[in-house]
Amino acid sequence: MVSEYNNPRNRKFYFIIAIIFVIVTLIPMYVLIIIAFAVPSQTVAAYYPPLFPSQFTLSNFIGAFSGYSSILQAAFIKSLITATIVGALAVALGFHASYGLSKMSNRMSALIISVLFFSTMIPSLTIAIPISVSFLKLGLYDSALGLALAQELVVLPMTVFMITGTLQSLPKQLELQARVDGAGFMQSLYTVILPLAKPGIFAAFLLSWMMSWDEFTFAVILSPVHPTLPILIYIDSTARGNILFASAFALLVTIPVIIITLVLSKFIKGNYLTSGVTG
């Protein structure tokens, strides 16, 4: 790059700024971990909790699990089912739509992309309330399937953009070859395109899964009686005032997502997110 960056003094400067950002990023994670693992008298029960607690315990987790096991289990399973439906549906709808988009005239695909893009502008709260009224009539209210159907709206446009970006990067010759050899449209889609696009589809699935796992707005309105994990945390931290359990649950919610984020950081470059809009 430019010669200025090779200057050792500048390099040191960049490094120091980078370290500061890393520390600021890690402090909240650190607080979450010590509240989950340190004895309560040194964290939430202390008026001025010490920055470096000295006694650690697993009893916060054991307490959260044993005292709440049935509620926690139900919330965990509900989150898991909902997120998996959201991810699977997103990939199924998104993959076909993306492939269709790649076969359309530019004007038509631009129109469809803008319809999808426009749907992301509608606030979840604005549509969650009419949806809750309809779901109540349809018997989908408070169910994992109903919640998944609503959360799908948050992830579907993004999934289409991501998979579209993946499809654009595939070599065109292979598909052409398959068609010349007599493969039909759908056959070449499943036997040639699908295997090639797997990494991008997998990344889209993980991202959708993760966004559903974290989703709050639809979950609090459409599924308040049998809550998902984020809503359980919300109820514990506000209504029940149980910060300790909320923190233990929070760590439980965070661990799988952190793992997914680390996996995704290889897949997700900014251009994935922007390809549908700039491309």
Partner: protein
């Protein structure tokens, strides 16, 4: 891409499910919300709901939403630019640095709210422990408008700045380095290079980041609802009016939210189209 006869029709059929999905689950409920906002249980074509909402809450939810959105966007873009410029330079440990900075993206919004509530409590808490160690006085963080705004914006930005950095970084990699070296030969300073080269060339990426983050900021909900921001916002007002038996007042509130989001999106698109004409 490869095109065969009838492909366009099959392509359309492949896209149809995704498009129908957002039409049925996003656009129709949004229209229901707008239509319902002008009805009550007894009357139609009335502005009673709006009068009720404004009469009960005043204009402060609208003003507060704007203040939170503007502050959060300001902070996220400032840090986003700094982080993206850092990451666009080669330095030791850049990969590890970007992996760590990306971590908060994987922490659920409600978890972020819980953590920041533990740090910035009304009484005691980690931030106050720090203040005491430094010889200051404890602060009731949620007590005043200014401090609750500060902690809300900090919590929201901690989680969401990575996505801004990521998009800006993707944009920075598209700027040819020659432009910078030429500008330096011509004697342009750091700030001049930023305003004359980086900013104009990044316009489409800034527009995308602004769109994604701006819409989300108008919809900021979980963090405020969890108690970090006890003052009314358009979202928390909508939620507090939410009632399945008589959803009409919440429809009015939700419609105001929708209107502001659409106006915001319109201005971002205007900025994008104008900036693309210049470059």
């Amino acid at each position: 891409m490869v095109k065969w006869r009838n492909d366009e029709w099959i392509a359309l059929l492949l896209i149809l499910p995704a498009v129908l999905y957002v039409l049925i689950l996003a656009f129709i409920p949004a229209l229901q919300s707008v239509y319902g906002s002008f009805s009550t249980l007894r009357a139609h074509n009335t502005i009673y709901n709006y009068q009720f909402v404004i009469g009960t809450f005043g204009l402060s939810p609208i003003v507060n939403t704007f203040i939170v959105t503007a502050s959060a966007l300001g902070l996220q873009f400032f840090i986003g630019f700094v982080v993206a410029s850092l990451l666009s330079k080669p330095f030791k440990g850049r990969e590890a640095f970007s992996a760590i900075l990306f971590l908060p993206f994987g922490v659920a919004t409600i978890v972020t709210a819980v953590i920041f509530h533990d740090i910035f409590s009304s009484y005691g808490g980690y931030a106050n422990t720090m203040l005491k160690l430094l010889g200051g006085h404890a602060i009731d963080w949620t007590g005043s408008f200014g401090t609750s705004l500060l902690i809300t914006v900090l919590a929201d930005s901690w989680k969401n700045t990575p996505i801004v950095s990521l998009i800006l970084l993707a944009g920075m990699t598209t700027i040819p380095p020659d432009l910078y070296s030429q500008a330096m030969v011509d004697g342009a300073g750091t700030f001049q290079r930023f305003f004359r080269i980086t900013l104009p060339n990044l316009a489409p990426f800034i527009a995308i980041a602004l769109m994604i983050r701006g819409i989300s900021e108008f919809n900021i909900f979980a963090i405020a609802q969890d108690g970090l921001f006890p003052h009314p916002l358009l979202t928390t007002m909508t939620y507090s009016l939410f009632d399945i038996v008589n959803p009409h007042p919440s429809y009015a509130s939700a419609t105001i939210l929708l209107a502001f989001v659409l106006i915001f999106a319109f201005f971002v698109m205007l900025y994008r189209s104008r900036s693309s004409k210049v470059s």
